[in-house]
Amino acid sequence: MPALVFAATFMDVNPGLVFWTLVTFIIVAFLLRRLAWGPLLRAVEGREQKITEAIESAKHERAEAEKLLAEQKTAMTQVRQEAAEQLQKAQESIAKFREELMAKSRLDAEAMKAEAARAIEEERQKAVLDMKAQAASLALTIAERLLEERMDDAKQKQLAEWFANELGPRAKA
């Protein structure tokens, strides 16, 4: 029965071999779990976790940096604005001060001019009166000398008054 011999040689299920297969498999599985898969999977999981953490922290840091940058930008803008405001204010105050100063000095100058004009007028009046008096006395003296010889006192006086009146307005002009 060659066909049966063939069949018998490889269809056989040896219970002893089944037993040893189970024993071997369990030992190998246990050893590999302890020595290979456990450490390997732990290392891989640790790596995965670390990478995830790194990505997370990178994201976090980036967000932080962006926030900081935005803050910085806001602060810069604010500072610039403030500086501009300050500058403008300073310019304004300078302009105002200048205007005030100008107005004041103009007033002062005008006041001084007026004062000077008044003083000049006063001096002139004084001088005119002086001159009038001097001219009168001079004329009197001259006239006295001229008329000493030919006129009496009455005529002298009449003539002197006439002179004074005639001369007055002319001197004033």
Partner: protein
């Protein structure tokens, strides 16, 4: 790399041919001998120029203390011709009271694979220092790629979080253990332990146990029992419950047979193509060797695919077990 792989394949084919020539047995006998489990394991190293190749020989007589007889002579069982049990002589022996736990050829191959796997994955571990974030070295990177694929693509998508984490180490071990056993068979003088029904059965039992544990964890005993009724009207339960119970076993059965048949078929095809040289004409070597090389490369692929399929389906079944709790909640 390519050249090395090609040379390996070719060498494998040649060594196998040498084995045929040296054996003096008929090719079908040699093939059956190769794909079957055996009490002895002969590791013959091809050595040109001398009369007899150097040979490592193992016979499991040395482990006779692992054999118990219920009554003397229980192991000298002669099955009558045509008996259904003659297809599974080992089971017949156990039923007769001969409890044989002696390591066989396939167990040797499995242990070699397990040792290689432990050397590959666990020996100088680079993950001792968890603070080292960047994996260095070819092996660490390979392992990480495999483990992450299983975690994300197999466990994550079929089981779902957070339960996936619990089953990832099992799936990783299942995948690599099966892969190593599959690929060991491609090295001349070795064989695939997964080409044996007993081995794939043992592997499927682990998946079965984990699936049931997942179901119990998520649905509880009552939910599990309820699930067996399939939600049909009460008068149909006598039909439904046996069907559901059979259904529990069909999944691991499918896993068992798929892996076994694929590995067995690959080896048989490879050997039959090569033995054309001895069965038909010596000229066939010019066709048989290139075809053998092609099958060899196909077998690398099949070994990988079958390991993946087993892992994938295990994850799917466990995922169904995990999902049972949600179904139970819906009823």
């Amino acid at each position: 790399m390519k050249r090395t792989a090609f040379a390996t394949a070719l060498a494998g084919v040649m060594f196998s041919s040498v084995a045929f020539a040296a054996g003096g047995e008929s090719p079908p006998e040699v093939i059956m001998h190769h794909v079957s489990d055996s009490e002895e394991y002969v590791f013959e190293i091809p050595w040109p120029g001398i009369e007899k190749n150097p040979t490592l020989y193992f016979h499991n007589e040395v482990f006779d203390f692992l054999k118990w007889e219920k009554e003397p002579g229980a192991c000298e069982l002669a099955l009558p011709h045509g008996s259904a049990l003659s297809v599974v002589p080992s089971i017949a022996k156990w039923m007769n009271g001969c409890y044989d736990l002696r390591p066989t050829k396939n167990l040797m191959l499995m242990w070699i694979s397990a040792a290689l796997l432990l050397l590959f994955a666990a020996w100088p571990r680079r993950y001792k220092d968890a603070s080292k974030l960047i994996p260095t070295g070819l092996r660490a990177n390979m392992l990480e790629a495999i483990v992450l694929f299983i975690r994300d693509e197999i466990a994550g998508k079929n089981i779902g979080h957070p339960e996936a984490k619990r089953y990832t180490p099992f799936l990783c071990t299942a995948f690599l253990f099966i892969l190593f056993m599959n690929l060991l068979g491609l090295i001349p003088n070795f064989g695939s332990a997964t080409g044996s029904l007993a081995v794939t059965c043992g592997l499927a039992i682990t998946t079965f146990v984990l699936t049931q544990m997942a179901s119990f964890r998520s649905a509880g005993t009552i939910g599990f029992a309820k699930h067996l009724t399939g939600g049909v009207p009460w008068f149909l339960t006598p039909i439904m419950v046996p069907i559901e119970i059979i259904g529990l076993f069909t999944k691991p059965f499918a896993l068992t047979v798929r892996l076994f048949a694929n590995m067995l078929a690959g080896h048989m095809v490879l050997f039959f193509i090569l033995s054309l040289t001895f069965l038909v004409t010596a000229w066939a070597v010019f066709a048989a060797v290139p075809m053998g090389v092609a099958i060899y490369f196909l077998e690398i692929f099949v070994g990988l695919i079958q390991a993946y399929v087993f892992t994938m389906l295990s994850a799917v079944f466990i995922g169904q077990g995990v999902a049972m709790g949600h179904h139970a909640a819906e009823h």
